[in-house]
Amino acid sequence: MTDEQALLLQIGQGNRIAFRQLYDQTSPQLFAIALRLMKKQDMAEEILQEVFLTLWHVSDQYNIERGSVRTWLSTITRNRCIDRIRRLPAEQVLLLNEETMLSEMASDHNDPLAHAMQADHQALLSMCMQGLDDQQRQCVSLAFFDGMTHQQVASHLTVPLGSAKTWIRRGLDFLKKCMERL
Protein backbone atom coordinates (compact mmCIF):
# COMPACT_ATOMS: atom_id res chain seq x y z
CA MET A 1 0.00 0.00 0.00
CA THR A 2 1.35 3.41 -0.87
CA ASP A 3 1.61 6.18 1.63
CA GLU A 4 -1.20 8.05 -0.06
CA GLN A 5 -3.50 5.03 -0.05
CA ALA A 6 -2.88 4.67 3.66
CA LEU A 7 -3.75 8.31 4.16
CA LEU A 8 -7.01 7.73 2.32
CA LEU A 9 -7.88 4.98 4.74
CA GLN A 10 -7.20 7.30 7.65
CA ILE A 11 -9.32 10.00 6.05
CA GLY A 12 -12.13 7.50 5.64
CA GLN A 13 -12.03 7.11 9.40
CA GLY A 14 -12.35 10.85 9.89
CA ASN A 15 -8.71 11.63 10.58
CA ARG A 16 -8.13 15.27 9.82
CA ILE A 17 -4.41 15.08 10.32
CA ALA A 18 -4.18 12.51 7.56
CA PHE A 19 -6.44 14.76 5.51
CA ARG A 20 -4.04 17.66 6.00
CA GLN A 21 -1.09 15.43 5.19
CA LEU A 22 -2.59 14.34 1.89
CA TYR A 23 -3.51 17.94 1.18
CA ASP A 24 0.07 19.03 1.73
CA GLN A 25 1.37 16.26 -0.49
CA THR A 26 -0.99 16.69 -3.40
CA SER A 27 -2.51 20.17 -3.41
CA PRO A 28 0.39 21.95 -5.19
CA GLN A 29 0.06 19.57 -8.14
CA LEU A 30 -3.72 19.76 -8.17
CA PHE A 31 -3.57 23.53 -7.89
CA ALA A 32 -1.28 23.62 -10.92
CA ILE A 33 -3.87 21.63 -12.87
CA ALA A 34 -6.71 23.90 -11.80
CA LEU A 35 -4.70 27.06 -12.40
CA ARG A 36 -3.74 25.97 -15.88
CA LEU A 37 -7.29 25.01 -16.81
CA MET A 38 -9.21 27.81 -15.11
CA LYS A 39 -6.66 30.57 -15.81
CA LYS A 40 -7.92 32.49 -12.77
CA GLN A 41 -6.43 32.24 -9.30
CA ASP A 42 -9.73 32.61 -7.47
CA MET A 43 -11.49 30.02 -9.59
CA ALA A 44 -8.61 27.60 -9.21
CA GLU A 45 -8.68 28.05 -5.44
CA GLU A 46 -12.40 27.42 -5.41
CA ILE A 47 -11.98 24.24 -7.43
CA LEU A 48 -9.25 23.03 -5.09
CA GLN A 49 -11.52 23.54 -2.10
CA GLU A 50 -14.29 21.60 -3.79
CA VAL A 51 -11.94 18.77 -4.65
CA PHE A 52 -10.78 18.33 -1.08
CA LEU A 53 -14.25 18.70 0.40
CA THR A 54 -15.36 16.02 -2.02
CA LEU A 55 -12.39 13.90 -1.06
CA TRP A 56 -13.32 14.16 2.59
CA HIS A 57 -16.72 12.69 1.83
CA VAL A 58 -15.79 10.08 -0.75
CA SER A 59 -12.33 8.91 0.24
CA ASP A 60 -13.67 5.41 0.71
CA GLN A 61 -14.74 5.33 -2.91
CA TYR A 62 -11.18 5.25 -4.16
CA ASN A 63 -10.57 2.24 -6.33
CA ILE A 64 -7.26 1.13 -7.75
CA GLU A 65 -9.07 0.97 -11.07
CA ARG A 66 -8.88 4.76 -11.07
CA GLY A 67 -5.09 4.64 -11.03
CA SER A 68 -2.91 5.95 -8.23
CA VAL A 69 -4.37 8.23 -5.60
CA ARG A 70 -2.73 11.16 -7.33
CA THR A 71 -4.18 10.15 -10.66
CA TRP A 72 -7.61 9.82 -9.06
CA LEU A 73 -7.34 13.26 -7.51
CA SER A 74 -6.11 14.66 -10.81
CA THR A 75 -9.16 13.12 -12.46
CA ILE A 76 -11.50 14.72 -9.93
CA THR A 77 -9.76 18.07 -10.35
CA ARG A 78 -9.76 17.99 -14.13
CA ASN A 79 -13.40 16.93 -14.28
CA ARG A 80 -14.40 19.74 -11.95
CA CYS A 81 -12.50 22.27 -14.01
CA ILE A 82 -13.73 21.07 -17.37
CA ASP A 83 -17.33 20.88 -16.18
CA ARG A 84 -17.00 24.45 -14.93
CA ILE A 85 -15.35 25.71 -18.11
CA ARG A 86 -17.98 24.10 -20.31
CA ARG A 87 -20.71 25.91 -18.40
CA LEU A 88 -19.08 29.31 -18.65
CA PRO A 89 -20.54 31.65 -21.22
CA ALA A 90 -18.51 31.46 -24.41
CA GLU A 91 -17.47 35.07 -24.19
CA GLN A 92 -16.07 34.53 -20.70
CA VAL A 93 -13.99 31.59 -21.88
CA LEU A 94 -12.70 33.68 -24.72
CA LEU A 95 -11.86 36.48 -22.32
CA LEU A 96 -9.96 34.15 -20.05
CA ASN A 97 -8.02 32.81 -23.00
CA GLU A 98 -7.22 36.21 -24.35
CA GLU A 99 -6.15 37.57 -21.01
CA THR A 100 -3.88 34.87 -19.86
CA MET A 101 -3.16 32.27 -22.40
CA LEU A 102 -2.71 33.18 -26.01
CA SER A 103 0.73 34.65 -25.65
CA GLU A 104 1.86 31.79 -23.46
CA MET A 105 0.58 29.13 -25.77
CA ALA A 106 2.64 30.47 -28.63
CA SER A 107 5.72 29.24 -26.86
CA ASP A 108 6.84 25.70 -26.26
CA HIS A 109 8.12 26.95 -22.92
CA ASN A 110 4.67 26.44 -21.43
CA ASP A 111 3.92 23.21 -23.22
CA PRO A 112 4.21 20.52 -20.53
CA LEU A 113 4.48 17.83 -23.15
CA ALA A 114 7.45 19.52 -24.71
CA HIS A 115 8.94 19.94 -21.28
CA ALA A 116 8.36 16.28 -20.48
CA MET A 117 10.51 15.18 -23.32
CA GLN A 118 13.49 16.58 -21.50
CA ALA A 119 12.62 15.38 -18.02
CA ASP A 120 14.51 12.33 -16.92
CA HIS A 121 11.95 11.29 -14.35
CA GLN A 122 9.28 11.21 -17.00
CA ALA A 123 11.28 8.98 -19.27
CA LEU A 124 8.61 6.39 -19.84
CA LEU A 125 5.91 8.91 -20.42
CA SER A 126 8.03 11.05 -22.66
CA MET A 127 8.88 8.00 -24.70
CA CYS A 128 5.26 7.92 -25.80
CA MET A 129 5.11 11.66 -26.20
CA GLN A 130 8.05 11.61 -28.53
CA GLY A 131 6.05 9.38 -30.78
CA LEU A 132 3.48 12.08 -31.37
CA ASP A 133 4.13 14.44 -34.20
CA ASP A 134 4.12 18.16 -33.47
CA GLN A 135 0.54 18.70 -34.55
CA GLN A 136 -0.79 15.80 -32.52
CA ARG A 137 1.20 16.85 -29.46
CA GLN A 138 0.03 20.43 -29.66
CA CYS A 139 -3.61 19.42 -30.05
CA VAL A 140 -3.48 16.93 -27.17
CA SER A 141 -1.78 19.51 -24.99
CA LEU A 142 -4.34 22.22 -25.73
CA ALA A 143 -7.18 19.84 -24.95
CA PHE A 144 -5.69 18.17 -21.89
CA PHE A 145 -4.00 21.07 -20.15
CA ASP A 146 -6.12 23.96 -21.32
CA GLY A 147 -9.51 22.29 -21.52
CA MET A 148 -10.21 23.20 -25.12
CA THR A 149 -12.91 21.57 -27.20
CA HIS A 150 -12.20 20.40 -30.73
CA GLN A 151 -13.61 23.63 -32.05
CA GLN A 152 -11.47 25.73 -29.73
CA VAL A 153 -8.34 23.78 -30.64
CA ALA A 154 -9.09 24.31 -34.33
CA SER A 155 -9.72 28.02 -33.82
CA HIS A 156 -6.61 28.44 -31.72
CA LEU A 157 -4.41 26.77 -34.32
CA THR A 158 -6.36 28.32 -37.20
CA VAL A 159 -6.82 24.96 -38.85
CA PRO A 160 -9.99 23.26 -40.11
CA LEU A 161 -12.06 21.51 -37.46
CA GLY A 162 -11.61 18.18 -39.23
CA SER A 163 -7.84 18.50 -39.05
CA ALA A 164 -7.89 19.17 -35.32
CA LYS A 165 -10.17 16.19 -34.76
CA THR A 166 -7.98 13.96 -36.85
CA TRP A 167 -4.79 14.97 -35.05
CA ILE A 168 -6.38 14.46 -31.65
CA ARG A 169 -7.82 11.12 -32.67
CA ARG A 170 -4.51 9.88 -34.04
CA GLY A 171 -2.67 11.20 -31.01
CA LEU A 172 -4.99 9.34 -28.66
CA ASP A 173 -4.71 6.16 -30.69
CA PHE A 174 -0.96 6.36 -30.51
CA LEU A 175 -0.88 7.11 -26.78
CA LYS A 176 -3.18 4.21 -26.03
CA LYS A 177 -1.04 1.75 -27.90
CA CYS A 178 2.19 3.15 -26.55
CA MET A 179 1.10 3.33 -22.92
CA GLU A 180 -0.27 -0.19 -22.96
CA ARG A 181 3.29 -1.33 -23.47
CA LEU A 182 4.54 0.55 -20.43
Binding site: Q10, F31, L48, Y62, S74, R78, R87, F145
Partner: protein, 296 residues
Protein backbone atom coordinates in the same frame (compact mmCIF):
# COMPACT_ATOMS: atom_id res chain seq x y z
CA UNK B 1 -23.98 18.73 -31.67
CA UNK B 2 -20.59 17.49 -30.77
CA UNK B 3 -18.98 15.16 -33.18
CA UNK B 4 -16.02 13.78 -31.36
CA UNK B 5 -14.17 12.58 -34.39
CA UNK B 6 -13.59 13.68 -37.87
CA UNK B 7 -14.91 12.17 -41.06
CA UNK B 8 -12.87 9.17 -40.07
CA UNK B 9 -15.48 7.91 -37.66
CA UNK B 10 -14.83 4.34 -36.62
CA UNK B 11 -17.07 1.97 -38.49
CA UNK B 12 -17.54 -0.16 -35.42
CA UNK B 13 -19.81 1.63 -32.92
CA UNK B 14 -17.95 -0.03 -30.09
CA UNK B 15 -14.81 1.68 -31.27
CA UNK B 16 -16.75 4.90 -31.41
CA UNK B 17 -17.64 4.53 -27.73
CA UNK B 18 -13.98 4.01 -27.03
CA UNK B 19 -13.16 7.20 -28.88
CA UNK B 20 -15.83 9.13 -26.99
CA UNK B 21 -14.56 7.83 -23.65
CA UNK B 22 -11.06 8.95 -24.58
CA UNK B 23 -12.30 12.35 -25.59
CA UNK B 24 -14.33 12.69 -22.42
CA UNK B 25 -11.19 12.13 -20.38
CA UNK B 26 -9.15 14.38 -22.65
CA UNK B 27 -11.83 17.03 -22.19
CA UNK B 28 -12.87 17.83 -25.74
CA UNK B 29 -16.58 17.00 -25.44
CA UNK B 30 -19.08 19.84 -25.28
CA UNK B 31 -21.05 20.47 -22.11
CA UNK B 32 -24.16 18.66 -23.31
CA UNK B 33 -22.20 15.68 -24.55
CA UNK B 34 -20.28 15.55 -21.26
CA UNK B 35 -23.53 15.55 -19.29
CA UNK B 36 -24.95 12.73 -21.38
CA UNK B 37 -21.75 10.78 -21.09
CA UNK B 38 -21.60 11.26 -17.30
CA UNK B 39 -25.18 10.11 -16.90
CA UNK B 40 -24.61 7.04 -19.02
CA UNK B 41 -21.39 6.28 -17.22
CA UNK B 42 -23.31 6.05 -13.96
CA UNK B 43 -25.64 3.54 -15.52
CA UNK B 44 -23.20 1.48 -17.57
CA UNK B 45 -20.40 -0.29 -15.70
CA UNK B 46 -18.71 -1.21 -18.96
CA UNK B 47 -18.58 2.40 -20.08
CA UNK B 48 -17.27 3.35 -16.66
CA UNK B 49 -14.48 0.82 -16.90
CA UNK B 50 -13.61 2.03 -20.36
CA UNK B 51 -13.41 5.59 -19.10
CA UNK B 52 -11.34 4.64 -16.08
CA UNK B 53 -8.85 2.94 -18.35
CA UNK B 54 -8.44 6.20 -20.24
CA UNK B 55 -8.11 8.08 -16.96
CA UNK B 56 -5.25 5.80 -16.00
CA UNK B 57 -3.59 6.42 -19.32
CA UNK B 58 -4.04 10.13 -19.76
CA UNK B 59 -4.39 11.75 -16.36
CA UNK B 60 -0.85 10.99 -15.17
CA UNK B 61 0.10 13.56 -17.79
CA UNK B 62 -1.08 16.16 -15.29
CA UNK B 63 2.00 15.42 -13.21
CA UNK B 64 4.03 17.12 -15.92
CA UNK B 65 2.80 20.50 -14.76
CA UNK B 66 5.06 22.30 -12.35
CA UNK B 67 3.48 22.28 -8.86
CA UNK B 68 2.19 25.65 -7.69
CA UNK B 69 2.21 27.07 -4.17
CA UNK B 70 -1.26 27.06 -2.67
CA UNK B 71 -2.22 30.13 -0.63
CA UNK B 72 -2.68 29.31 3.05
CA UNK B 73 -6.23 30.61 3.13
CA UNK B 74 -7.40 27.79 0.86
CA UNK B 75 -6.80 25.21 3.57
CA UNK B 76 -8.33 27.50 6.17
CA UNK B 77 -11.49 27.76 4.12
CA UNK B 78 -11.63 24.01 3.65
CA UNK B 79 -11.37 23.52 7.40
CA UNK B 80 -14.02 26.14 8.06
CA UNK B 81 -16.43 24.45 5.68
CA UNK B 82 -15.80 21.08 7.24
CA UNK B 83 -16.51 22.58 10.63
CA UNK B 84 -19.81 23.98 9.43
CA UNK B 85 -20.84 20.71 7.83
CA UNK B 86 -19.87 18.87 10.93
CA UNK B 87 -21.82 21.29 13.05
CA UNK B 88 -24.84 20.77 10.86
CA UNK B 89 -24.52 17.06 11.37
CA UNK B 90 -24.77 17.66 15.06
CA UNK B 91 -21.48 16.13 15.87
CA UNK B 92 -19.00 18.55 17.27
CA UNK B 93 -16.91 15.68 18.42
CA UNK B 94 -16.66 14.22 14.96
CA UNK B 95 -13.46 15.97 14.12
CA UNK B 96 -11.73 15.21 17.34
CA UNK B 97 -8.77 13.09 16.60
CA UNK B 98 -8.60 9.51 17.67
CA UNK B 99 -5.74 8.60 19.91
CA UNK B 100 -2.45 8.60 18.06
CA UNK B 101 -4.22 10.12 15.09
CA UNK B 102 -1.15 12.09 14.25
CA UNK B 103 0.75 8.94 13.52
CA UNK B 104 -0.15 7.65 10.11
CA UNK B 105 1.23 4.18 9.96
CA UNK B 106 1.69 3.17 6.37
CA UNK B 107 3.80 0.16 6.97
CA UNK B 108 1.38 -2.47 8.13
CA UNK B 109 -1.58 -2.09 5.87
CA UNK B 110 -2.50 -4.19 2.91
CA UNK B 111 -3.15 -2.65 -0.47
CA UNK B 112 -6.20 -4.78 -1.01
CA UNK B 113 -7.86 -3.16 1.96
CA UNK B 114 -8.17 0.10 0.18
CA UNK B 115 -11.10 -1.16 -1.83
CA UNK B 116 -12.71 -3.61 0.47
CA UNK B 117 -12.37 -2.34 3.95
CA UNK B 118 -12.18 1.40 3.75
CA UNK B 119 -15.83 1.99 4.47
CA UNK B 120 -16.22 -0.71 7.04
CA UNK B 121 -13.11 0.47 8.81
CA UNK B 122 -14.96 3.57 9.94
CA UNK B 123 -16.22 3.26 13.48
CA UNK B 124 -19.91 2.55 13.22
CA UNK B 125 -22.29 5.12 14.61
CA UNK B 126 -19.52 7.50 15.43
CA UNK B 127 -20.15 11.18 14.84
CA UNK B 128 -17.46 11.15 12.21
CA UNK B 129 -19.53 8.97 9.99
CA UNK B 130 -22.27 11.52 9.90
CA UNK B 131 -20.24 14.12 8.17
CA UNK B 132 -18.96 11.79 5.54
CA UNK B 133 -20.59 10.66 2.41
CA UNK B 134 -22.33 7.36 2.31
CA UNK B 135 -23.60 7.76 -1.19
CA UNK B 136 -23.29 4.83 -3.42
CA UNK B 137 -19.85 4.12 -4.65
CA UNK B 138 -19.03 4.53 -8.27
CA UNK B 139 -17.58 1.23 -9.15
CA UNK B 140 -16.38 0.59 -5.63
CA UNK B 141 -15.01 -2.87 -5.07
CA UNK B 142 -14.87 -3.59 -8.72
CA UNK B 143 -11.84 -5.60 -9.54
CA UNK B 144 -9.63 -4.43 -12.29
CA UNK B 145 -10.28 -6.58 -15.28
CA UNK B 146 -6.98 -7.25 -16.95
CA UNK B 147 -8.70 -8.57 -20.00
CA UNK B 148 -10.71 -5.43 -20.38
CA UNK B 149 -9.16 -4.48 -23.65
CA UNK B 150 -9.78 -7.84 -25.17
CA UNK B 151 -12.64 -8.01 -27.63
CA UNK B 152 -15.71 -6.47 -26.13
CA UNK B 153 -17.38 -9.51 -24.77
CA UNK B 154 -19.01 -7.34 -22.15
CA UNK B 155 -21.18 -5.26 -24.34
CA UNK B 156 -23.15 -6.01 -27.43
CA UNK B 157 -22.70 -4.17 -30.65
CA UNK B 158 -26.28 -2.98 -30.56
CA UNK B 159 -25.96 -1.50 -27.09
CA UNK B 160 -22.69 0.15 -27.92
CA UNK B 161 -24.10 1.64 -31.08
CA UNK B 162 -27.11 3.08 -29.34
CA UNK B 163 -25.02 4.53 -26.53
CA UNK B 164 -22.59 6.14 -28.93
CA UNK B 165 -25.37 7.65 -30.97
CA UNK B 166 -27.08 8.87 -27.83
CA UNK B 167 -23.99 10.62 -26.53
CA UNK B 168 -22.98 12.17 -29.80
CA UNK B 169 -26.23 13.11 -31.40
CA UNK B 170 -28.91 13.54 -28.77
CA UNK B 171 -29.64 17.24 -28.81
CA UNK B 172 -31.02 17.70 -25.31
CA UNK B 173 -29.29 17.00 -22.01
CA UNK B 174 -30.54 14.07 -19.99
CA UNK B 175 -32.79 14.73 -17.06
CA UNK B 176 -30.91 14.93 -13.82
CA UNK B 177 -31.41 12.74 -10.84
CA UNK B 178 -32.00 15.66 -8.53
CA UNK B 179 -35.58 16.14 -7.40
CA UNK B 180 -37.15 18.39 -9.98
CA UNK B 181 -38.37 21.86 -9.26
CA UNK B 182 -42.08 21.97 -9.90
CA UNK B 183 -44.58 24.73 -10.12
CA UNK B 184 -47.13 24.45 -7.38
CA UNK B 185 -50.51 24.82 -8.97
CA UNK B 186 -52.81 23.24 -6.40
CA UNK B 187 -53.59 25.22 -3.30
CA UNK B 188 -52.87 23.20 -0.20
CA UNK B 189 -52.75 23.84 3.52
CA UNK B 190 -49.53 25.60 4.22
CA UNK B 191 -47.39 26.80 7.07
CA UNK B 192 -44.04 28.48 7.48
CA UNK B 193 -41.68 25.88 8.86
CA UNK B 194 -38.26 27.55 8.94
CA UNK B 195 -36.31 30.73 8.55
CA UNK B 196 -32.85 30.19 7.12
CA UNK B 197 -30.16 32.64 8.16
CA UNK B 198 -26.68 33.36 6.98
CA UNK B 199 -23.46 33.27 9.00
CA UNK B 200 -24.26 36.70 10.41
CA UNK B 201 -27.64 35.50 11.66
CA UNK B 202 -29.36 37.60 9.03
CA UNK B 203 -32.55 35.95 7.77
CA UNK B 204 -32.24 35.05 4.12
CA UNK B 205 -35.00 32.56 3.27
CA UNK B 206 -38.45 31.68 4.55
CA UNK B 207 -39.45 28.09 3.95
CA UNK B 208 -43.15 27.29 3.68
CA UNK B 209 -44.52 23.79 3.41
CA UNK B 210 -47.56 23.25 1.23
CA UNK B 211 -48.43 19.60 1.27
CA UNK B 212 -45.54 17.84 -0.40
CA UNK B 213 -44.09 21.03 -1.80
CA UNK B 214 -41.76 23.57 -0.30
CA UNK B 215 -42.07 27.21 -1.25
CA UNK B 216 -38.88 29.13 -0.58
CA UNK B 217 -39.00 32.92 -0.49
CA UNK B 218 -35.74 34.79 -0.71
CA UNK B 219 -35.34 37.75 1.62
CA UNK B 220 -31.84 38.89 0.78
CA UNK B 221 -30.39 39.81 -2.60
CA UNK B 222 -27.89 37.00 -2.99
CA UNK B 223 -27.17 36.22 -6.61
CA UNK B 224 -26.32 32.64 -7.43
CA UNK B 225 -23.27 32.45 -9.71
CA UNK B 226 -24.29 31.42 -13.20
CA UNK B 227 -22.31 28.22 -13.04
CA UNK B 228 -23.68 27.17 -9.66
CA UNK B 229 -26.89 26.06 -8.05
CA UNK B 230 -28.19 26.18 -4.53
CA UNK B 231 -29.21 22.91 -2.92
CA UNK B 232 -31.48 22.43 0.07
CA UNK B 233 -30.64 19.81 2.68
CA UNK B 234 -32.34 18.32 5.70
CA UNK B 235 -30.24 17.15 8.62
CA UNK B 236 -31.79 15.18 11.43
CA UNK B 237 -29.76 14.51 14.52
CA UNK B 238 -26.67 12.57 13.65
CA UNK B 239 -27.91 11.44 10.28
CA UNK B 240 -26.13 12.45 7.12
CA UNK B 241 -27.67 15.38 5.23
CA UNK B 242 -30.49 14.43 2.86
CA UNK B 243 -30.99 16.46 -0.27
CA UNK B 244 -34.37 18.08 -0.70
CA UNK B 245 -33.49 19.26 -4.15
CA UNK B 246 -31.84 21.95 -6.18
CA UNK B 247 -33.18 25.43 -5.51
CA UNK B 248 -33.75 27.32 -8.74
CA UNK B 249 -34.82 30.83 -8.00
CA UNK B 250 -37.36 32.63 -10.13
CA UNK B 251 -38.25 36.14 -9.06
CA UNK B 252 -37.10 35.52 -5.53
CA UNK B 253 -38.98 32.27 -5.10
CA UNK B 254 -38.34 28.60 -5.62
CA UNK B 255 -40.58 25.59 -5.34
CA UNK B 256 -39.43 22.07 -4.59
CA UNK B 257 -41.36 18.87 -4.50
CA UNK B 258 -40.52 16.84 -1.43
CA UNK B 259 -41.30 13.18 -1.71
CA UNK B 260 -40.23 12.48 1.84
CA UNK B 261 -42.00 14.87 4.16
CA UNK B 262 -40.50 12.97 7.07
CA UNK B 263 -37.39 15.03 6.34
CA UNK B 264 -39.29 18.09 7.53
CA UNK B 265 -40.03 17.05 11.11
CA UNK B 266 -39.56 19.45 13.99
CA UNK B 267 -35.98 20.12 15.01
CA UNK B 268 -34.60 18.97 11.69
CA UNK B 269 -32.09 21.48 10.38
CA UNK B 270 -32.52 22.84 6.90
CA UNK B 271 -29.45 24.11 5.12
CA UNK B 272 -28.71 25.59 1.74
CA UNK B 273 -25.32 25.00 0.18
CA UNK B 274 -23.69 26.34 -2.95
CA UNK B 275 -23.10 23.44 -5.29
CA UNK B 276 -22.02 22.77 -8.85
CA UNK B 277 -24.69 23.19 -11.49
CA UNK B 278 -27.51 20.69 -11.00
CA UNK B 279 -26.51 19.90 -7.46
CA UNK B 280 -23.93 18.03 -5.49
CA UNK B 281 -22.29 15.26 -7.48
CA UNK B 282 -21.60 13.26 -4.33
CA UNK B 283 -24.99 13.19 -2.68
CA UNK B 284 -23.58 15.25 0.16
CA UNK B 285 -22.92 18.97 0.48
CA UNK B 286 -19.64 19.84 -1.20
CA UNK B 287 -19.74 23.62 -1.37
CA UNK B 288 -20.19 26.44 1.08
CA UNK B 289 -23.13 26.17 3.47
CA UNK B 290 -24.73 29.56 3.07
CA UNK B 291 -27.88 29.37 5.16
CA UNK B 292 -29.23 27.25 7.99
CA UNK B 293 -32.35 27.13 10.10
CA UNK B 294 -34.32 24.77 12.27
CA UNK B 295 -37.73 23.36 11.37
CA UNK B 296 -40.27 24.57 13.89
Amino acid sequence: MTTPTTGQQPDDPKDLLNVIAAQYVLGTLSNSARLRFQTLMQQQPALRQLTHAWERRLNPLASLLEPQDVPAHVWQQIEAKLDILNQLSGNHSAMSQPENAGVVDTSTTDTSLINTNAASAKPLNTPTDNSKNTAKSEGQNQAVNDSFWQPWAWVSTAIAASLALFIVFKPQPLPFTQPPVVVQTQPAPSRDIAVLSDDNKQPAWIVRQQGNALLLSQINNYQVPSDRDLELWSIQGNAVPQSLGVVRIQQGKAVLSVAQTRLLVDDAILAISLEPKNGSPTGQPTGSVLYTGKVV
